[in-house]
């Protein structure tokens, strides 16, 4: 029997077939469930459920609520697998299993013991973007970087692994990617000089399988100098360390706190890397590869197939970590496998996800001004690079100079809050920021475990616009155009959901859950939840009824930056305080609100 089992597992491995991902894909394919944070491997955040549709959504009502017991920024969303809903919290990262067949009774809860010192090294709130389900287990990645596999039925710990060292500023806020026989995880700490990486653990045992850094020597960043390409050309040897001065790469950032998507046919997973550290560009001459980069890596080996650095030598903190949404769409009569990425730098990229070819790169907010655009000429020496406008270059203006009027701000035109894609409308629905900034870099010293920032920022709503700090937009990724745009008073910091009912949902920082028409953007429904929303909308079905779930709980970067309201120093002293303060609209909270149509 032992022999047989060993043989069978070897056979399974050799065939690359009977892995966890096969069963997980089957669970993902059931529209009544929401089993991983991104909805599916493509990160489309699209549901085939259509009971709640553009004709019925106006009748939506609150079905039930649940308090998480934590008053911090609540990012991510609950999961639903079978009869169980899994709800996570920010630090201390409690996980609840709620029995949906028994009126939401708490089946089990898991409360990890973490040293609260980690709170002090989490830049921008103790947010956590949620657990993932696979193979009868729930995967939690704690703030202190402990990865835990919990038995989905009992909440018992199956295994745990430690991914980083909080005393060096290594923390976690991201969800994990369960794929094939692995759990792939990232790391936070770009403001602490962490050398970012992604790491694969065996889904059954928690054994570390490989670790691929974002910056460093070729063996550490797991590239093949001859075969790994950028825009069709091999990257060559020492591509990363050649783009740094001295040993700065060792504290070079490129952290991996965003989302993962995967294409099982191509055996690739996709993610983006964060800012190079420090924020003072003068302290790190060179392109700082491969920070600010889209990576396509082999799921089994971890080796990069292709890379694309969007913002070489970042001067504005435009982390490249936002989600990579995968879609199959027709371009010039040919169906292509695409990757669409709405970057913090204000450019929406459409790429061929198999080859890494750049197809579209256009601004998705007209106020973006740090670049005139991306060079799309393959014959050009600067092919694929953004042309930087000198006036807004914090590098060219130099240390101790305040560069003013840069759009977008360091929040990005969009941060991690994920967009959605509806295959029915072939449209991307994108929550955005409409905020600009002044940025003054200066010299800083590195101390392990201490913030390593090196710039002073002031942020304010985009001038000469609608006065608000956000937009919710519909994006055409083939033509690189905005279809429609809904102005919002505050940044939209909530992940969107698109459904087969042709309704798109998102939350606002004031606390509204909103539903809009997928074609026109017309508002169809709104409800004010107890606290500001920075979570992501999800949906599920039970006993023939469709539900919409959203976490409230203001916080994150938005809660820090916008609580007191923004001011524009360039407006002169008299105008100070002229912008809305989030604290006038909402207070701390931590609640799940679930909606349904009346019986």
């Amino acid at each position: 029997m032992k022999t047989f089992m060993t043989l069978a597992s070897v056979a399974a491995m050799a065939a690359g077939g009977a892995f966890a991902s096969d069963t997980l894909q089957a669970e993902i394919d059931k529209p009544e469930q929401w089993v991983i944070q991104t909805g599916d491997y493509k990160n489309q955040r699209y549901s085939k459920l259509d009971q709640i549709n553009r004709d019925t959504v106006g009748d939506l009502q609150v079905a039930w609520t649940f308090s998480t017991g934590v008053l911090r920024g609540h990012e991510g969303s609950p999961l639903v697998v079978g009869d169980t809903m899994f709800v996570h919290t920010p630090f201390p990262n409690t996980v609840y299993a709620l029995d949906l067949a028994d009126d939401g009774r708490i089946k089990w809860r898991y409360e990890p013991k973490q040293d609260p010192d980690v709170i002090g090294v989490m830049c921008c709130d103790t947010v956590y973007r949620g657990v993932a389900y696979a193979d009868g287990k729930v995967f939690l990645h704690q703030a202190d970087t402990t990865v835990v596999a919990l038995d989905a039925e009992t909440g018992e710990v199956a295994w745990s692994a430690v991914n980083g060292d909080p005393s060096k500023g290594e923390t976690n806020t991201a969800t994990v990617l369960p794929v094939k026989d692995k759990i792939i995880v990232g790391i936070s700490g770009g403001e602490f000089g962490v050398q970012g990486h992604v790491t694969a653990y065996a889904i059954e045992t928690g054994e570390q399988l490989w670790r691929a850094y974002s910056v460093g020597p070729d063996d550490q960043i797991m590239v093949d100098p001859e075969k790994t390409t950028e825009l069709g050309k091999p990257i060559g040897p020492d591509s990363s360390i050649n783009s740094w001065e001295g040993d700065q790469w060792k504290i070079g950032g490129g952290t991996t706190w965003g989302w993962f998507s995967a294409d099982l046919e191509e055996n690739l997973f996709y993610y983006g890397t964060g800012n190079p550290s420090t924020w003072n560009p003068a302290q790190r001459p060179g392109d700082n590869k491969w920070s600010m980069t889209i990576f396509a890596r082999d799921i089994d080996t971890g080796v990069a197939k292709w890379v694309y650095q969007m913002t070489p030598h970042d001067e504005w903190d435009y982390d490249g970590v936002n989600e990579m949404i995968l879609s199959e769409q027709e371009i010039d009569g040919e169906t292509r496998k695409l990757l669409t990425h709405m970057d913090r730098n204000g450019i929406g990229y459409t790429m061929d996800r198999v080859t890494g070819e750049l197809l579209v790169a256009e601004k998705y907010d007209p106020v973006v001004n740090w670049t005139t655009g991306v060079d799309m000429d393959p014959e050009s020496e600067t092919y694929g690079r953004p042309a930087v406008v000198a006036e807004y270059s914090t590098e060219q203006n130099g240390e101790d100079v305040n560069s003013t009027g840069i759009c977008p701000s360091a929040l990005g035109t969009k941060d991690q809050q994920p967009g959605a894609y509806s295959p029915r409308t072939e449209t991307f629905y994108v929550p955005t920021n409409h905020v600009c900034m002044d940025y003054e870099p200066f010299r800083v010293a590195y101390t392990a475990g201490q913030p390593y920032v090196g710039a002073t920022l002031s942020m304010y709503p985009a001038p000469d616009s609608h006065g608000g700090m956000g937009n919710f937009i519909a994006w055409d990724n083939i033509n690189g155009e905005i279809k429609w745009s809904i102005p919002e008073q505050f940044s939209v910091w909530s992940g969107a959901l698109a459904t087969a009912g042709d309704v798109v949902f998102y939350g606002t920082l004031e606390g509204y859950l909103k539903a809009v028409d997928a074609e026109t953007g017309d508002e169809l429904y709104r409800f004010k939840t107890p606290s500001g929303i920075i979570g992501n909308v999800m949906t599920y079905e039970r006993e023939g009824k469709q539900y919409i779930g959203i976490l409230s709980g203001v916080g994150g970067w938005a809660g820090i930056g916008l609580a007191a309201g923004l001011t524009n120093p360039n407006d002169g002293l008299g105008a100070v305080g002229g912008y809305a303060a989030l604290s006038d609209y909402t207070a701390l909270g931590g609640q799940l609100t679930v909606f349904a149509l009346p019986d």
């Binding site: 934590v70 008053l71 911090r72 920024g73 630090f91 201390p92 609260p116 010192d117 709170i119 002090g120 090294v121 830049c123 921008c124 709130d125 103790t126 403001e191 924020w279 305040n402 002044d438 003054e440 200066f442 800083v444 010293a445 101390t447 201490q450 913030p451 390593y452 920032v453 090196g454 710039a455 002073t456 920022l457 002031s458 942020m459 500001g532 203001v554 916080g555 809660g559 820090i560 930056g561 609580a563 007191a564 309201g565 923004l566 001011t567 524009n568 120093p569 002293l573 100070v576 305080g577 989030l582 604290s583 701390l588």
Partner: protein, 172 residues
């Protein structure tokens, strides 16, 4: 000196600010003397110096920059506080200078069922500790409501003494 203090107190009361400043017997705000471009109270505590035309002393200006590099990501812009951490412009007024230094140096934890507040220890961070007086006087000026939000406009130049102390502290 006493005369100036009373005037200031009267000004604060008139501006409806009396409730914000704690009822301290000592005047923790007014300048008693200047030394190498730094300003001090009667009790030798660093303080801001803001001229009638709004010109700020170097430390207040520098504090604006350092605050928005080191503190802003948790405590929000201009000492106003956030959903995550308290308003330091208030702390700089309410707390004794030496207590303020102690919390920045050694950190502080308030962790219980209702609260998970952890201020890290910055004692070995030169980007904070070499500029702690700068950050303190900036926040005190904000808390006393004598410095509006936004980037200070006119400022005094950096004195040779301040430059020398900075270089020594950073080990340059």
């Amino acid at each position: 000196m006493k005369f100036t203090a009373s005037l200031l107190a009267a000004g604060l009361a008139a501006a409806g600010m009396a409730g914000q400043a704690t009822a301290q017997d000592v005047d923790n705000l007014s300048v008693a003397y200047e030394e190498g471009g730094r300003y001090y109270t009667e009790d030798d505590v660093p303080t801001y110096n803001i001229g009638e035309d709004g010109t700020v002393d170097w430390l207040t200006y520098s504090g604006f920059r350092r605050y928005h590099s080191e503190c802003h990501v948790c405590h929000g812009p201009e000492g106003e506080g956030s959903s995550y951490a308290p308003a330091l412009k208030t702390s700089a007024i309410d707390m004794d200078y030496y207590d303020f230094l102690d919390v920045v140096t050694n950190g502080r934890k308030v962790v219980n069922a209702a609260s998970h507040n952890v201020m890290p220890a910055f004692g070995d961070n030169p980007n904070v500790m070499c500029y702690i007086d700068d950050i303190y006087v900036y926040l005190k000026a904000r808390g006393a409501d004598v410095l509006p939000r936004g980037r200070p406009g006119q400022r005094e130049d950096k004195s040779d003494d301040i430059r020398a102390a900075e270089e020594a502290c950073l080990g340059l």
